[in-house]
Chain length 327, copies 2
């Protein structure tokens, strides 16, 4: 039996998990990232945590086939480098070379959203599906494109930035410098902004009561709870938000026609109440109505997504690693 | 030596060409489509024209390896059917089965824009490049995505509808029913509308002189000619148009990061005067600036694009034909 180790190198925590060949998580552990310190110390802690997780499960490191690291930012998957990551302040940081100082195993590096998409493809909502897209709704919108069971992120590993697809060229200013990026309208942050703005205008909205007039307490769940209880403001906010979300999803369908789009993030917990109207909106707007339609479904790998996907990177290698591209 | 036959089944004309294994066009011939007649008669004419082209080049049909048909609309590449094509009024039309009544060779079917993209990949501006996107600017905007030298059009062959990516969700009404599709702003039709509107507001614009006040005579070339001669209205129209065009192209880069985007259509004849400012606009807006950037270049296969791409369909099969997808 072979095992696979996945690392989620996050802004707050380092998570390490061991996974079987089916992408099933066996165990995970975490330590704080302490992101202000040098990357060499961070990698040293990753190596220690890998040893610890394996020890706890009594797995010999010689039974481990690959190690994968999922991290926000743009990877250079070929050279095992994080090209750029503002939140961790990584710039051309040689994660693979550093980790190989401690552990003699092949190390793969990938963007965290791409890892999450691979996890859904290997062991989640897109299992056994060749072409899938995972959309992670959080602070921004992260995306992962899986084609023929491999991460597709273009010739330079920088693709699948689905949140930075402009859907309103004269719209809201985005952190990336453009106007009207999808994530400015359809991220969780955007939903919170839309809800607090609407609730502030409507003092009788249930939202105000639920957050005790402190919009800092607002969550996706509170907005949906208010809507479920009949609050008109919350319903209107959600309806408009679903329009924004569906516009980007329809673009993805028209461009990529994946067999399935998987929605991940806190909002996916709202289940059918969220999914049903979203599906109807998307299906009514896609360009070609006469063919089998892309399914939309909710993520299944949850908080283990990045670990599982990272662990599987060596098995289902980024498509550009199979190509002749010289970057 | 093996040969390959490509058919462009257009609204006005049927074009048939014979191509060598490098995608080089050896000869092409055409007959009118006469689209009002039954598809069986159209296919009979295709078969006759294939025989004629081969005869003229003294090529034995036993030296032909594959036949490919490029056609507007949505194909079912697996079953050799045109699922839907409004302009030719095809609906689940079994082109392959009909053509096989006349010729005993494998027949492949693909959307015409996808064929054009494959042609650029095999024998044009994206030769030797694994990941490329071709954008055809005409009445609308057609797209073709090439991944690992194969046409990628999703699990149902209906993808790469790049023109129907919304870039302004409260914008101009599109024929597809949505608001603000890219082609409503960046197709050749859109450019003509933008130029005639601007010229009508500005009687002293050179555009009015060049078309003798008849906007029906307007072409891409006339607008660019006016701009080259210093006409401010034309320059402003082009600048705004390039903004619209660049917004969609940047989206494509952020999502797909192809190594090259190939621009096809009449406008590509404007060369560097068109390409240089477009490249600058795109490069300044892409999300990840720290990696090697997508190149933007002009199409090379010209009016033979669809024929060449169709002829090569059997060699570089649609990616979904390699997958496990059952549609």
């Amino acid at each position: 039996m072979k095992y696979f180790v996945g690392v989620e190198l996050g802004v707050k925590n380092i998570l390490v998990g061991v996974v079987d060949k089916y992408g099933k998580l066996i165990r995970k552990e975490s330590v704080p990232t302490l992101k202000e310190r040098p990357y060499t110390e961070i990698v040293e802690d990753i190596a220690k945590l890998i040893t610890e997780v394996l020890d706890k499960e009594d797995i010999d490191i010689r039974s481990v086939k690959y190690i994968g690291v999922g991290c926000p930012g743009t990877p250079d998957a070929k050279n095992g480098i994080i090209v750029r990551n503002y939140t961790l302040n990584f710039h051309n940081t040689p994660i693979r070379a550093e980790l190989e100082k401690y552990i003699n195993l092949p190390v793969y590096i990938e963007n965290d959203a791409n890892c999450a998409a691979l996890a859904e493809s290997v062991a989640g909502a897109a299992e056994d599906i060749d072409f899938s897209v995972t959309v992670r709704i959080g602070t921004g919108i992260g995306g992962g494109i899986i084609i023929s069971n491999k991460v597709y992120s273009g010739f330079n590993y920088a693709g699948a930035e689905l949140g930075h697809m402009v859907v309103s060229f004269d719209g809201l200013k985005c952190t990336c410098g453009r106007n009207g990026c999808w994530e400015s309208y359809a991220s969780a942050t955007a939903l919170m902004n839309q809800a607090s703005e609407a609730a502030a205008k409507c003092p009788e909205s249930l939202i105000n009561k639920l957050v005790e007039n402190d919009y800092g307490k607002l969550t996706e769940n509170i907005i949906f709870e208010a809507a479920r209880k009949g609050d008109i403001t919350a319903k209107e906010v959600i309806n408009k938000y679903l329009f924004y979300l569906s516009e980007g999803l329809v673009n993805i369908v028209n461009i990529l026609q994946p067999e399935v789009i998987v929605i991940a993030g806190q909002i996916a917990k709202e289940g059918e109440y969220f999914l049903k109207p979203l599906k109807e909106m998307v299906n009514s707007k896609v360009y070609c109505q006469q063919v089998r339609q892309t399914g939309i479904t909710l993520a299944q790998t949850g908080s283990a997504a990045v670990i599982i996907g990272a662990a599987m990177l060596g098995v289902y290698k980024n498509m550009a690693l199979h190509s002749n591209v010289l970057i």
